[in-house]
């Protein structure tokens, strides 16, 4: 029988349809390593990749049929075996579903969308950034293991690679009714641009671009800066770009090193999704646009002359 450390942090790693560990995995193991001994759980393929991320032991369960429930069954079995001090799950769509069901099944409280985990003299504490970063709060559970979902892109800590012990996990199926997955396709991600949620730099466009065609200007600037592309709700509602790129309260929240807002007025809706960026640059023709209230460097002017000049200047220095 394998034994587990008293400060075991059980980490559920998401997998992709093609059997890889999801991009969120390294940060989850990194967060666990800050407060205890990371033990990973992988359901389906990908278990052999977890040691390289720093998981000391890796529980491996076979994938079952149906949505979410087989994974919850596996996590419940892992909790029973490992008796963890905390259970960390990605705050992804799949992760939230697992965390929700697990909390209800095991009677645990759940801390959602944590941006960090640390330990104080009372135990483990989850940190949250709420109302679009306007408040920082901390939460804990009154007793029992801390179950938390971790916001993607929020944890910088990474654990050193280890030779992991791979442990097959026996799972008793709960028989809970699950939805059927009739077909599945991987999300096609642009290979050259970083992912919006976790990008160090983001360039976003708003209604000021005027059309879907003009949005190419935002994409060019993003590529010149090695940035991800985002958009305001107004630009999404106008049909310039798909909803997946929407930055704001009803969309993706980002916290990059650099955020460039091009033709975005900066309604509170939008600011709530980007105001925790380290440096904010804004280009807008309206001198009274609220985006300037949060911008470190604001330019009042025509984006259609400023952005091309910026691109030229960036290109010139590079060459």
């Amino acid at each position: 029988m394998p034994t587990f450390a008293n400060d075991t942090i059980l980490v559920l790693l998401d997998t992709t349809p093609d059997g890889q560990l999801a991009a969120s995995s390294a940060a989850l193991v990194g967060a666990a390593s800050q407060v205890g001994t990371p033990v990973a759980l992988v359901v389906g393929e990908g278990a052999d990749g977890a040691g390289a991320l720093g998981a000391v032991q890796v529980l491996h369960a076979s994938a079952g049929d149906g949505l979410t429930v087989p994974i919850v069954d596996a996590v419940a079995a892992a909790v029973e075996l490992v008796q963890p001090e905390a259970i960390l799950i990605s705050n992804s769509i799949d992760g939230r579903d697992v965390a929700g069901r697990l909390a209800a099944r095991l009677g645990l409280s759940v801390a959602v969308d944590a941006v960090d985990i640390n330990r104080d003299d009372q135990g483990l504490v989850a940190h949250h950034s709420v109302y679009g970063g306007a408040y920082n709060t901390q939460s804990a559970t009154t007793f029992g293991p801390l179950l938390a979902t971790l916001r993607q892109g929020s944890i910088e800590a990474r654990a050193a690679a280890v030779e992991a012990e791979i442990i097959p996990l026996e799972v008793t199926r709960s028989g809970t009714r699950a939805a059927m997955v009739e077909s599945i396709e991987p999300v096609v991600v642009s290979s050259k641009r970083p992912e919006l949620r976790s990008a160090a730099r983001v360039v976003s466009g708003g209604r000021g671009l005027g059309s879907a065609e003009n949005f190419a200007l935002v994409e060019s600037l993003a590529d010149a800066l090695g940035a991800a592309v985002g958009a305001s709700r107004a630009a999404v509602d106008a049909g310039y770009v798909p909803h997946a790129l929407q930055v704001g309260q009803t969309g993706v929240s980002v916290s990059p090193q650099l955020y460039v807002a091009v033709g975005i007025s900066g309604a509170i809706q939008h600011r709530a999704g980007m105001q925790t960026a380290k440096t904010i640059v804004a280009i807008n023709k309206d001198p009274d646009a609220p985006i300037f209230e949060v911008a470190d460097f604001g330019i009042v002017g025509d984006l259609f002359t400023i952005v091309p000049q910026l691109l030229e200047a960036l290109e010139a220095k590079k060459g």
């Binding site: 069901r101 099944r105 059927m180 509170i268 209230e293």
Partner: protein, 258 residues
């Protein structure tokens, strides 16, 4: 078919939102309260089905303070048939576990074929309640749907996650959560607003649901600290005089951002 739609009153995201720094709870008086937009879209999904199927009953369910009644009534004005409002002092500051327990109990008491919710509220943004409620009721959950098809015996749809797009389905009874990709909700018209005043409305307490809101024998999530982030200070603002692109390039380079 009986469709239960979960709705929530939230502070308007188009205005400033305030947390009370003593209690850590939302300061409801500080912001304009609105029906959460994602919940309105969930109502729209139910009403679209009801438009085509006469024997459909659409019931709103909300756990909220008494003051939220006026907001919830908007959903009746849109066309929902009745509302269940769970109100209890002991629910002030309820965590997700207690909230899911209450909503699951209310659903059980009301009865349903299909439960429709938004994927995440715009205030708490937790996004775990649909799965929690499904687990408590032993239902299949179809979350984060960008398209929904309701049939007499089953529900299906397209689910877009962080890594995949999939087609999912389940026989009824089931629970679905929808995303913003679903159509905008209809506006209540004058006739709807007048009719809403006469529609059936039930108010249930925790006692009606057989739940003890102060039971601490199960783990509860507690907020241990809260701090307001200092507001950002505006930095330099220049008016373009023909060289702003160049100046911005310089700024980015000086700050090692380009």
């Amino acid at each position: 078919m009986k469709i239960l739609v979960l709705v929530k009153e939230v502070p308007d995201t188009w205005g400033d939102r305030v947390l009370n720094l003593e209690t850590g709870l939302a300061d409801r008086a500080a912001s304009e309260a609105v029906l959460d937009e994602i919940g309105e879209r969930a109502i729209e999904v139910a009403l679209s089905y009801a438009d085509e199927h006469d024997d459909t009953e659409v019931v709103l369910l909300s756990m909220a303070p008494e003051s939220a009644a006026a907001t919830i009534r908007k959903g009746l004005a849109m066309g929902a048939g009745s509302a269940v409002h769970v109100v209890d002092e002991a629910l002030h500051g309820a965590d997700l576990s207690l909230t899911s327990e209450v909503l699951a109990a209310a659903l059980r008491k009301s009865g349903f074929d299909l439960v429709i919710t938004g994927n995440q509220s715009t205030d708490g943004v937790a996004g775990v309640l649909p799965a929690m409620i499904a687990e408590r009721l032993g239902l299949p959950q179809l979350t984060a749907l960008t398209e929904v098809t309701i049939e007499a015996e089953r529900v299906s749809g397209r689910r877009v996650t962080d890594v995949a797009t999939m087609q999912v389905s389940a026989p009824l009874p089931a629970l679905v959560s929808i995303t913003e990709a679903l159509p905008d909700a209809r506006f209540p018209n004058f006739k709807g607003i007048m009719a809403a005043k006469k529609k059936p409305w039930e108010t249930w307490s925790l006692a009606d649901l057989g739940i003890d809101g102060e039971h601490m024998g199960v783990p509860r999530s507690i907020m241990t600290s809260i701090a307001e982030r200092p507001p950002r200070q505006a930095g330099q603002k220049i008016v373009d005089e023909g060289d702003a692109g160049q100046k911005l390039a310089d700024f980015l380079r000086e700050n090692r951002l380009a």
